[in-house]
Symmetry: C2
Subunit: 333 residues, 2 copies
């Protein structure tokens, strides 16, 4: 009645060998006589035996599963990373347990705990703010962790990103060269180091180099969502900014539509440059100029780094910077 499963024991009996031998052939252990291997393989095939990964996990203390903590799969930036992660994971025979956190510290800690309970071999974390509690748990767990597309100012954890400071500086400089003096800086929470430290620093450096005075009236802090951008428009408009750097594509599209729906022409009246070069940038009109980041690769490389960490391989540098670029489409002059 219930799902009668074939165990390694059944195979051993049918093949007239010990469980140990079956285990060896299943695991590709070379210490098996070819003839024996063949015999076992035949039985496995005939019985349609499928090793129980849970039992395996218990015995070997490896689950070939990694946990992925993601703010929201629905956000194209993160899902792009996730895709890269999954592909590389598959390549290395790992599976992914995906869990949405909404960037909520509480949830993050909770999710982390259930992942650890499930004995994942490693963790990939996305999210730009790591609370002290989370960091403590992460450390205590002794499980390899890598931050994907997220920054760790302390450098304790493995992470894969681009050089945000330089990328932002370059894009702001570009905007300045186009004649803009008042450039809005629109991003998510400044509490996130990626915004409050890295991007903002790039922004300030570019201004300084051009001899423009920093004006905090031009700093806008909001959510990473389309709606947030749309809503924010009036405020940006009244700041007399003539251009904006935006830290997220959905957000940027919101700003873009806010501006256009208010009657402005982009880029003639207002220029926009965004940060993630996701599909969205090419889907909207005008197409958005953007910092380019290899999203898929960020995920892929993160996972690859994690496999090294899990295998206890020596890694020379735990913080990996991937190349970025700047692509001018039609939202800038």
């Amino acid at each position: 009645m219930d799902k009668q499963t074939i165990t390694i024991y059944d195979v051993a009996r049918e093949a007239a060998v010990s469980m140990a031998t079956v285990s060896r052939v299943v695991n590709g252990n070379p210490n098996v006589k070819p003839a024996t291997r063949k015999k076992v393989l035949e039985v496995i095939d005939r019985l349609d035996y499928r090793p129980n990964a849970v039992a395996r996990g218990l015995a070997s203390k490896k689950t070939t599963t990694v946990g992925v903590i993601i703010p929201d799969v629905t956000n194209i930036y993160f899902s792009s990373l996730a895709r890269g992660i999954d592909d590389v994971a598959t390549m290395y025979k790992y599976n992914i347990i995906l869990a949405n956190s909404d960037q909520n510290g509480q949830k993050e800690v909770q999710v982390l705990n259930t992942l650890l309970a499930k004995q994942v071999d490693g963790i990939i974390f996305m999210g730009n703010q790591i609370t002290d509690e989370l960091r403590a748990e992460l450390k205590r767990s002794r499980t390899p962790v890598v931050l994907s597309g997220s920054v760790d100012p302390t450098g304790e954890l493995g992470s894969v990103n681009i050089d945000y400071v330089a990328a932002v500086m370059e894009s702001i400089t570009d905007l300045i060269n186009n004649g803009n003096k008042r450039i809005a800086f629109v991003s998510g929470s400044m509490d996130e180091p990626i915004n409050g430290e890295y991007r903002l620093k790039g922004y300030k450096m570019a201004l300084e180099k051009a001899g423009i005075k920093f004006d905090k009236e031009l700093i806008f802090e909001t959510d990473y969502s389309y709606r947030a951008g749309e809503t924010l428009w009036p405020a940006i408009a009244s700041s007399h900014a003539t251009a904006a750097f935006v830290g997220d594509d959905e957000l940027a599209v919101g700003v873009l539509n806010g501006a256009r729906d208010a009657g402005l022409r982009v880029p003639e009246d207002f220029e926009i440059i965004t940060s993630n070069d996701s599909k969205l940038t090419e889907i909207v009109r005008p197409k958005l100029s953007s910092i380019t980041q290899p999203l898929y690769d960020l995920g892929a490389v993160s996972m690859r780094l994690l496999t090294k960490l899990m295998d206890k391989e020596e890694v020379s540098e735990k913080t990996i910077l991937l190349p970025y670029g700047l692509i001018k489409r039609s939202s800038t002059k």
Copy 2:
């Protein structure tokens, strides 16, 4: 040196009870004297004991994990469903193993096998084409399965969708009422029942009711991607269609931009109605009119149905239809 773990045995010793008792309190079994429970709980807290889910899984034959097979997380339609799935899963204490399949029959079978090896308690499948091989494996596994946002013409498997026939018929009728006689039908592969059977049927019914003759020159079969839509435009243009029904939002945006970049005005010169009501529809200009589907809910309800199946609860109807609607935005007159 290595991660020394606290086991149930340690807790039992410290609390001076048996493992069995610790197990009972951990699992909320009521047969424990309050005083004992308290004592055990204190030790658990002090030792920071975290039950090993793998061992649990082996002993109880339940992993509280479900497998989710998704064509591509990067597609907003699917990721929206996935979000609903994950939220409900979390609610019921399950985790999700997410695996991308690219709608590739081979990969699907392979992924399914590794999920089953991992002893998932259930499976949620997204993808509109179920090969015979896959169906056979699914059946043989005796693991509960539900199709999310995907159709099963045979009705053997649990599934959650909307009434595609009716929805498409309604939208085509709307287009007809706007004066269109030549309406393009743009979708993914016609081999997928959702397109070749359901949607197409709705399309034909609407035409018939209006006395318009079906013209297969107006049927366009392509990929579910932005690029595919853009590329397809010239063909649509030369078919002399004055409107299009499109089966996927990304695809629809491609068609929209193809048309506009070619100089047409939407909706004045060409009308478009799309199918999934994802974020994209509101992000582009003009905003896309669409069939509305509760994407998040489709996922959520799928997962809820799966929990019932996993608990062996009686479910009156394995095929659940959620309500759909039609929202007119600016891509139709």
